[in-house]
């Protein structure tokens, strides 16, 4: 009763579920706020880009206007060395300038053009080329099952229902080493799927416990 509640569920599991659910709710709530803020940023960016286009259009119109006036003046006085002079502003509809500025789109320049070629296949030991793959150098990330965690047990492994599924649905690699220990235990004899962390027998517990206790294999069943 110290470990299980009236429904037979471990109290620790209920507690961890509460923590997990609270954390997940918080993540969802912040995600909603982030999503709204992303749309607002997009909207503001679109407004800024539109204003920049309008300003560029206005400037172009003015420049076109000045050039037109200069061209008119130079035709009227072709032999005189006339300096450009400012004339009163004339109503002129100018050209509509379309297109995007460099800061217009939130998408950067498109990727480089491709040549119509077939890339050759590489040996598995070949190094990836620039077009085929890219590498990023970064500090070693911490993930589930990383060696930096206090627990030294291996990550979960499950025996899937592979026999019932067509092999074509699987993605496999060549490395087939599965000699890791399992955490969970069961009461039955070790089977092919006993590499799962979940236990079905106490006798099948791995001999290497985190604390180095070697007596586990001699414990009796309750």
């Amino acid at each position: 009763t110290d470990f299980f509640d009236k429904d037979g569920v471990m109290k620790d599991i209920r507690a961890i579920y509460q923590v997990y659910n609270a954390l997940q709710e918080k993540v969802q709530a912040v995600c909603i706020d982030v999503e709204k803020s992303e749309r607002v940023v997009e909207s503001f960016q679109a407004d800024v880009n539109k204003l920049k286009r309008q300003i560029a259009q206005k400037k172009n119109e003015k420049e076109q206007e000045i050039r037109m006036q200069q061209a008119i003046l130079s035709r009227q006085m072709p032999t005189d060395n006339v300096e450009p002079m400012f004339v009163p502003r004339m109503s002129y509809t100018g050209f509509a300038v379309e297109g995007c500025t460099l800061e217009d789109s939130d998408v950067s320049d498109p990727p480089p053009p491709y040549s119509d070629f077939n890339t050759s296949t590489h040996d598995s030991s070949g190094s990836p080329g620039l077009l085929e793959s890219s590498s990023i150098f970064m500090p070693r990330p911490q993930a589930v099952g990383s060696s930096s965690y206090v627990s030294t047990t291996a990550g979960l492994k499950y025996s899937g229902n592979g026999a019932s599924m067509p092999s074509s649905q699987r993605a496999l690699a060549d490395n087939v080493d599965e000699s890791e220990d399992s955490d969970y235990e069961n009461l039955l004899e070790p089977t092919e799927s006993s590499d799962s962390e979940y236990s079905q027998t106490r006798e099948s517990r791995p001999s290497a416990h985190p604390d180095g206790d070697s007596r586990n294999t001699q414990t009796s069943q309750i």
Binding site: C31, V34, Q54, F137, V144, Y149, A173, L187
Partner: protein
């Protein structure tokens, strides 16, 4: 060169936010492979230059796959060297993806005005080379039978440079092509029985040595930068901890349903479940929450900057009029 012939796909454009979700998923565990689906489109071919005009041939946009988002898949079998999903789950995920994306009123559908669909799959190779295994190539070939433009992405992570002790992440995009048959040199034989026997042995040796009849062919992949993150990608990112928790629950329930377990074993299994869930919260949920909060703060600052810039531009525009 193996696998000659024209490629169905010439290049892949992967949106930066989708790339982020893929990386986040691949880096979530270094013990098992993970898998997901790529959602996007293949834009229709654009017009070609008129006959007789001398012009550079445009890129055949019909052969460029655009990946806008990804869907994280729940694994039925968690292993370090394989990742599996059931055919029913794959079909359901594909259908759900296409339906939800066609109804999506977010910038994704508005931007393209075209329905999205499943255009590829991705999986991770933790501590494994980035190149697809022969099984990966066969799996890809099977997908291509349904969709010639289907592409496969692989993310190789948790690889350390031994000298610098820095982590490396490699990614690649590939398709499968029919392997070319080996050419046997023509040799005259006077005894027809010996020819048949040798041919049979040679074919058997070839089959054992090269069980795959497909070769990989690499597709150029480019990550398209974006200033903002799409709604679908954000939802996929926060879906990750839920999926990992569901996988853990499935494993625990499978073992907990056994009736012959003694109390100590049940306590042990419950502790393992608790430990694994704590590990997920520490490695995935916690950093995800931190990243979201930082992103929110960054967006607030960006909004202020854009607001100020907008006011300045309005003043400038008014001065020009």
């Amino acid at each position: 060169r193996a696998g000659g012939g024209k490629m169905a796909v010439q290049a892949v454009h992967l949106e930066a936010d989708a790339f982020l979700v893929c990386l986040n998923h691949a880096l979530s565990t270094e013990k098992e492979e993970v898998m997901g689906l790529c959602i996007g489109e293949v834009p229709p071919a654009e017009g070609r230059p008129r006959e007789g005009r001398v012009a550079a041939l445009p890129v055949d946009t019909n052969r460029i796959v655009h990946i806008h988002s990804v869907i994280i898949l729940r694994r039925s079998d968690k292993r370090k060297d394989r990742v599996e999903i059931s055919p029913e789950q794959l079909s359901a995920a594909s259908t759900e993806a296409e339906i939800s994306f066609s109804r999506d009123s977010s910038r994704l559908a508005k931007m393209t005005g075209r329905p999205m669909r499943v255009v590829g799959w991705y999986h991770s190779h933790p501590h494994i080379t980035v190149w697809p295994s022969h099984v990966d190539v066969r799996t890809q070939a099977m997908y291509q039978m349904m969709d010639q433009g289907f592409v496969g992405l692989i993310f190789s992570c948790f690889i350390e440079d031994k000298n610098t002790k820095t982590g490396r992440i490699l990614y690649t995009c590939f398709q499968s092509v029919q392997a070319q048959k080996s050419s046997d040199p023509a040799r005259p034989w006077t005894d027809s029985c010996k020819v048949a026997e040798v041919s049979f042995l040679f074919a058997a040796f070839n089959y054992i040595s090269h069980p795959s009849r497909y070769d990989r062919i690499e597709i150029p992949i480019h990550v398209v930068p974006h200033e903002t993150i799409g709604k679908v990608c954000l939802e996929s990112a926060v879906e990750l901890p839920k999926i990992l928790c569901q996988e853990e629950q499935d494993a625990y329930r499978r073992i907990h349903s056994l009736t012959h377990l003694d109390s100590v074993t049940k306590i042990h299994n419950g502790s393992v479940f608790t430990k694994n869930l704590c590990s997920q919260m520490s490695a995935i949920s916690g950093p995800l929450l931190q990243w979201l909060e930082d992103r929110l703060e960054q967006n607030k600052q960006r909004m202020q900057e854009l607001q100020q810039e907008k006011e300045q531009l309005l003043e400038e525009l008014a001065a020009l009029e």
